[in-house]
């Protein structure tokens, strides 16, 4: 498992601030990717990203319920303790293509959810605060269920789909 944490998370407030940022950003990213795929006439992948955005939104709401009433620290966007450019669960913006297939999108989602799972596991294993460890372990279990769900979806997708689709209106660029 790759390291996704760049430092120890030592309080419940700090942990929830990270979890909230990660989950909200991830859901929002899937929604934006769905919009982009819709604009670029890839309705199958747009629908998949839309589904993932809805799933992500539910998870973000759950974290928000945990955070309600908590005094969360004000963390600058560049000071979150993860090693990735964005939150660990956010699809990298440069890893998508307008011709990508559902299978590629599912692989990307599995990668993202696995990183989210790793984030919670690493907090659960590394924090000195017992309350943080317990909360992170609970969330890791939920995230693990997401990873399993995506593995099932990927298995159902089959291998027959072409890696890329034909572009009927390609960019005019010499070979």
């Amino acid at each position: 498992m790759n390291t996704v944490l760049s430092g120890e998370i030592s309080s419940v407030g700090e942990f929830l601030a990270h979890a909230l940022e990660m989950e909200v950003e991830s859901a929002e990213r899937y929604r934006e990717l769905a919009d982009a795929m819709q604009v670029h006439n890839n309705p199958q992948v747009a629908a998949l990203f839309r589904t993932l955005a809805a799933e992500g939104h539910v998870h973000a709401q759950q974290v928000m319920q945990h955070a309600a009433g908590e005094d969360l620290p004000d963390i600058a966007p560049w000071a979150f303790k993860w090693t990735s450019p964005d939150g660990p669960e956010s699809a990298p913006l440069d890893e998508v293509h307008y011709l990508m297939s559902r299978r590629q999108a599912l692989q990307l989602a599995l990668h993202n959810e696995s990183r989210g799972h790793a984030f919670y596991l690493q907090v659960a294993e590394g924090s000195a605060n017992a309350e943080v460890r317990q909360l992170a372990a609970e969330m890791a279990a939920e995230e693990g269920a997401h990873v399993q769900m995506l593995r099932q979806w990927l298995a159902q997708e089959g291998d027959s789909e072409p890696v890329t689709q034909d572009d009927l209106d390609p960019p005019c660029q010499p070979g």
């Binding site: 955070a67 004000d74 440069d94």
Partner: protein, 274 residues
């Protein structure tokens, strides 16, 4: 922070970007909205001005005042707005063609005037909106456009070095693949009193797919921020164009000077209308 504090999505409009999936401009949009949220700037106190091009569509995607102006004219529009409404936070944005070719002369004089605004140049070294022609920042031997099948044969424009030579008081380079650093640099640029130039490397995945490799090629600038423009220019000139960070920041007099006399419209009429 509370759960109800301003978030980046509070600065995103309902309009869906038409940029190609994978385009670096998505990350610039995310960084701008994160920076505005971090600074807690009210939406109605922010104005985002642009010219023409893929990147210049960005005012439509930000929930603030916006002006999608003429090609190359983002900076004079933004300058006029800031002078007329100094209480606003004014950002100008655009691409390498808009900013350094069509708007190249405006770029020089915006740097020189040092008006308190932030200019975000989203550089992908190509004219993407018109399907992939060489821009001022394209390498001389880039031969992948039917317009220049053997390359342009012209040396690349060096935006950050030129900005320093023209008198800019804040010069930084960011990369869309490092949104954390880009957000931090944008916050510093917005807070900087004077003309802040943020040169953003923002890959065009459609016409310059090889720019996806930038993620393995970018590197921190060897030092910075420097306070001597000559040293900063020397450092940037020696760089391969992929060095990231704040190269130069210096407090210089901001135009217009705060002591400048002001007059009401009625007073002006009395002076000029007889």
């Amino acid at each position: 922070m509370t759960v109800s504090a301003l978030k980046a999505k509070d600065y995103k409009s309902e309009i869906k970007p038409i940029w190609c999936p994978g385009c670096g401009h998505f990350a610039v949009l995310a960084a701008i909205t994160r920076a505005l949220a971090y600074l807690g700037l009210p939406n109605e106190q922010v104005a985002l001005v642009s010219g023409i091009g893929c990147s210049s569509r960005i005012p439509a995607y930000v929930d603030s005042y916006g002006f999608h102006g003429l090609h190359g004219r983002a900076l004079p529009l933004a300058s006029g707005l800031k002078v007329a409404r100094p209480e606003l936070t004014v950002l100008a944005a655009g691409g390498d063609g808009d900013g350094f070719s069509i708007g190249g002369n405006h770029f020089l004089h915006a740097c020189r005037r040092n008006i308190d605004l932030t200019y975000i140049a989203m550089d992908n070294r190509v004219y993407g909106m018109t399907k992939g022609q060489a821009s001022p920042t394209t390498a001389a031997d880039w031969a992948h456009s039917s317009m220049t099948p053997q390359g342009t044969g012209i040396r690349r424009f060096q935006p950050a070095v030129i900005a320093l030579a023209a008198g800019a008081s804040f010069v930084a380079r960011a990369y869309s693949g490092d949104p954390k650093q880009m957000t931090q640099l944008l916050v510093e640029a917005i807070e900087h009193p004077g003309f802040a130039f943020v040169h953003v490397l923002s890959p065009c995945v459609t016409f310059r797919p090889e720019q996806r490799e930038w993620k393995h090629q970018v590197h921190p600038l060897p030092e910075g921020p420097l306070s001597d423009p000559g040293q900063a220019a020397q450092m940037l000139h020696a760089d391969d164009g992929l060095g990231l960070g704040l190269a130069y920041a210096q407090r210089l007099p901001v135009w217009p000077a705060p002591h400048q006399a002001s007059a009401t419209l009625a007073e002006l009429e009395q002076e000029f209308v007889r």
